[in-house]
């Protein structure tokens, strides 16, 4: 019954989308500046029904209705309620429902929040957005329908993968989707703006909060994904330059470039076509990322199940999007005269965009290169962290300096009166770096440079913060975000430099000594739990310098249905550092492979990223208030 309800709602939504496109195109031809009531009512109905459809699927998961293949494959009666619910979007078909919901919500709210903007611009946005909705609805109906039945209905489901039962992972897709799926609305708005010639600052005003909101959620989504990877996956890292991680980072770079350029477009009425390109690019990257991850082209820890048919469908959709936007862009492009002085805030925004595009293209090239070499030369290569770190980090050093200087440069034309203060800040950064190096013995030139430049950004932002609080100026959002970005890079740099990692094979009773630490493998216990058996290691870590002793208990969990083995890392967190220990068995031996890591500043990395997002959130509020 749920299956029938779901399918009916899907079909109705297809019909509604077509209807909306029709009504909107009719409404465009009429004069006046108001959108017909029918359109408002239809879009409201559309939003309500798509939610209904989504809740139908969630209900099927909650009630463990295994007559739906999707529920059978991805759920289990003994799953906790939270994970039954999150299981509904944690698979390919269900996540497409999440796609459609967000596309629809953004469509509706954009429509009703832009009443001060031209009717045709809004109507065309609605049309383009609904074309995208139709594309995804038909993908669901013809290829990836979560409501497909299986007969006879099984009594129990298959989906009890313990690694996926994690709160961070549950919330990761919704956060990320509001991010990059939300970018669809300014893709549609950009197309609409091109067609209706609605350019310049008013267009910027129309989309700016949408860009910011999607950016905030994209940041949070990436943060939560990294937290999950750190706590659940057991390798002690949080970013691997894995293709799926890169797929979420690419739209982020484009969004960051975009909202910086929007500031210039709004203030000075220049860079319109560049803003349009960024709007189109962001969503194209989102769809490309989705394609790469689900088509089976890539090999990664995160990939969903492979199915080349899905790939063809998504590739066709991507192709349509790219060539239609290129066509419109080429048709409407007019050469502009820029009046940008080299010493002005506009230049620094351009510099930001320059660097963002560099990061974006580097990550894009690195991710796609193995695909290309494999297709063209039959030789498979890997492009991993060494490449990205080597290419990107040196450039970040310079970027951070620009990030500190830029906000203090005036619009149109700047004078060099703040040069001395920058030199002082630079010296201060050097001194602090020297202190760190002297007491903690730092390493390469590059790590020093990164610390210096992030300190430069931090100190400069703190000074800005003091000035802003004194004068009650409303630049708090920017200062907080820039400051936390500086801290983020600083903490990542410190974490990378001062991390300790040792890998041993030990038997119960062994002790190993290294640096200032001693590890004792005290004992191994077997404990039985409700749905798994656990082998718990008791390891004592002695910090000889501080005379501290900590006990860590890594686990090897043996699950029955499905029959899996998971390795639970033992993590002890405090303000300054994390201790991270994993234990894995060695086949046909009574030795265990023990990997010990000391990871400084982990907590502060998470905090910095969180505050970065909060800064963006603050800006959205400031914008809403000034409207």
């Amino acid at each position: 019954m749920l299956s029938n309800l779901g399918n009916i709602l899907l079909f109705i939504n297809v019909f509604l989308s077509v209807l909306i496109i029709y009504f909107a195109s009719q409404n465009i031809k009429t004069s006046g500046n108001s959108i017909s009531e029918t359109i408002y009512q239809t879009t409201l109905l559309q939003t309500t029904l798509i939610f209904g459809c989504f809740f139908t699927l969630v209900a099927a998961f909650i009630t463990s209705d295994f007559s739906l293949i999707n529920v059978f494959e991805n759920s289990h009666t003994s799953k906790p309620l939270l994970y039954k619910i999150s299981g509904s979007w944690g698979n390919h078909e269900g996540s497409l429902m999440l796609w459609v919901i967000i596309l629809t919500i953004f469509s509706f709210f954009f429509l009703i929040n832009n009443k001060t903007h031209p009717k045709n611009y809004r109507l065309f946005t609605l049309i383009f957005q609904n074309i995208i909705i139709l594309g995804f609805l038909s993908f669901i109906l013809f290829n990836s329908n979560p409501f497909t039945l299986i007969s006879p209905a099984p009594k129990e489901g298959l989906g009890l993968n313990p690694i996926l039962q994690d709160p961070a992972l549950a919330i990761h897709p919704p956060l990320l989707y509001i991010g990059f799926v939300g970018s669809s609305i300014y893709f549609s708005a950009a197309m609409a703006s091109l067609i209706t010639n609605y350019s310049e600052k008013f267009f910027a005003k129309s989309i700016k909060n949408w860009v910011l909101i999607s950016w905030v959620f994209q940041t949070l989504g990436i943060l939560v994904g990294s937290i999950w990877a750190y706590y659940e996956l057991g390798w002690g890292g949080f970013w691997f330059w894995d293709p799926v991680e890169n797929a979420s980072l690419l739209p982020w770079f484009a969004m960051t470039a975009l909202f910086h350029s929007l500031i210039v477009l709004e203030k000075r009425n220049v860079l319109y076509f560049w803003v349009i390109i960024l709007c189109l690019l962001t969503f194209v990257l989102s769809v490309t990322g989705t394609f790469l991850v689900r088509s089976g082209i890539l090999n990664s820890v995160h990939t969903f199940a492979n199915d080349p048919n899905r790939g063809i469908y998504m590739l066709s959709f991507l192709c349509l999007m790219i060539f239609s936007s290129l066509f419109l862009l080429f048709k409407k492009y007019r050469k502009n005269n820029y009046n940008i002085n080299f010493n002005s805030k506009e230049t620094y925004v351009l510099i930001n965009n320059w660097f963002m595009l560099f990061y974006l293209l580097t990550v894009l090239i690195g991710t796609l290169y193995p695909i290309f070499t494999d297709a063209l030369t039959e030789n498979k290569i890997s492009v991993g962290p060494p490449f990205y770190n080597a290419v990107i980090i040196p450039v970040v050093v310079i970027f951070l300096f620009f990030m500190a200087i830029g906000p203090n440069v005036k619009w149109i034309k700047n004078k060099f009166d703040n040069l001395i203060s920058f030199i002082i800040i630079f010296i201060l950064a050097l001194i602090i770096n020297f202190i760190i190096v002297y007491f903690f013995k730092s390493f390469t030139i590059l790590s020093n440079l990164i610390i210096i430049s992030s300190l430069f950004l931090i100190i400069s932002s703190l000074i800005d913060l003091k000035k802003s609080l004194e004068k009650s100026k409303f630049d708090l959002a920017r200062i907080i975000s820039h400051l936390s970005f500086g801290f983020l890079i600083l903490f990542i740099g410190l974490n990378h430099n001062f991390s300790l990692e040792e890998d041993f094979n030990m038997k119960v009773g062994d002790t190993k000594s290294f640096n200032n630490y001693e590890i004792k493998f005290k004992k191994l216990e077997v404990k039985n739990f409700k749905n798994y058996k656990s082998l718990i290691g008791d390891l004592e870590i002695k910090d000889k310098k501080m005379s501290q002793i900590k006990t860590l208990n890594p686990e090897i969990r043996i699950y029955e249905s499905p029959s899996t083995l998971t390795y639970e890392a033992a993590i002890k967190t405090n303000i300054i550092k994390d201790y991270y220990l994993t234990m894995s068995n060695i086949d046909r031996s009574d030795f265990y492979n023990i990997k010990f890591q000391k990871k400084p500043m982990m907590f502060w990395i998470w905090v910095s990223c969180m505050v970065l997002a909060i800064g963006g959130f603050l800006r959205v509020f400031q914008n809403a208030k000034s409207n």
Binding site: I297, L298, P308, G311, C319, A375
Partner: protein, 171 residues
């Protein structure tokens, strides 16, 4: 200038899409064929009873040698065993078995039960030596010629298709 940019942009996107299209049908799993065509060099293998070290001399005697990596605890090895027994009948092919991460008694029991197709048996108890042959799992088999150049690599248990292919090569 504008036309050039527009043309190039369209071309680049088209190129990317075409590559994506052709990549869709490729097999994403990895076959370690990097050693094919190369000469095997590091050969410090101990023979099974531990009293003698294998060297290239053992391989030069024959035109072709099939090096087979196996263990008693590996079930696909049981599946491919009859094919190895058939291959051992061929005079043109010598079979060298490398017992991988195994215990001597279990290995002996395995061969007593299923038959011994090998002219020579070597052992790699820790598994480190097999890395020199580019092995990452068992069973795997490598076909080499007199000059110790790798002709073909078989990953996974040998099937009848592989069997026929080997016969074709050695004849």
């Amino acid at each position: 200038m504008q036309k050039v940019i527009k043309f190039l942009t369209t071309l680049i996107f088209l190129f990317v899409i075409v590559v994506f299209y052709f990549s869709l049908n490729k097999d994403p799993s990895y076959q370690t064929n990097s050693l094919v065509g190369k000469k095997l060099v590091e050969l410090n293998l101990e023979n099974f009873d531990g009293d003698y070290n294998l060297s290239t001399k053992d391989f030069k005697k024959n035109n072709f040698t099939l090096i087979n990596f196996w263990a008693s605890w590996c079930s696909p090895c049981r599946v491919e065993h009859p094919i190895l027994m058939s291959l051992s009948k061929s005079k043109k092919l010598k079979l060298v078995g490398i017992n991988f991460k195994d215990k001597k008694n279990n290995a002996k029991k395995f061969l007593n039960e299923l038959g011994n197709p090998y002219n020579l048996i070597a052992k790699d108890e820790i598994g480190k030596k097999s890395v020199n042959f580019g092995i990452y799992g068992i069973p795997e088999s490598i076909l080499v010629n007199k000059e110790m150049i790798v002709i073909k690599k078989f990953i996974g248990p040998l099937n009848t298709q592989d069997y026929n292919e080997i016969l074709k090569i050695i004849n």
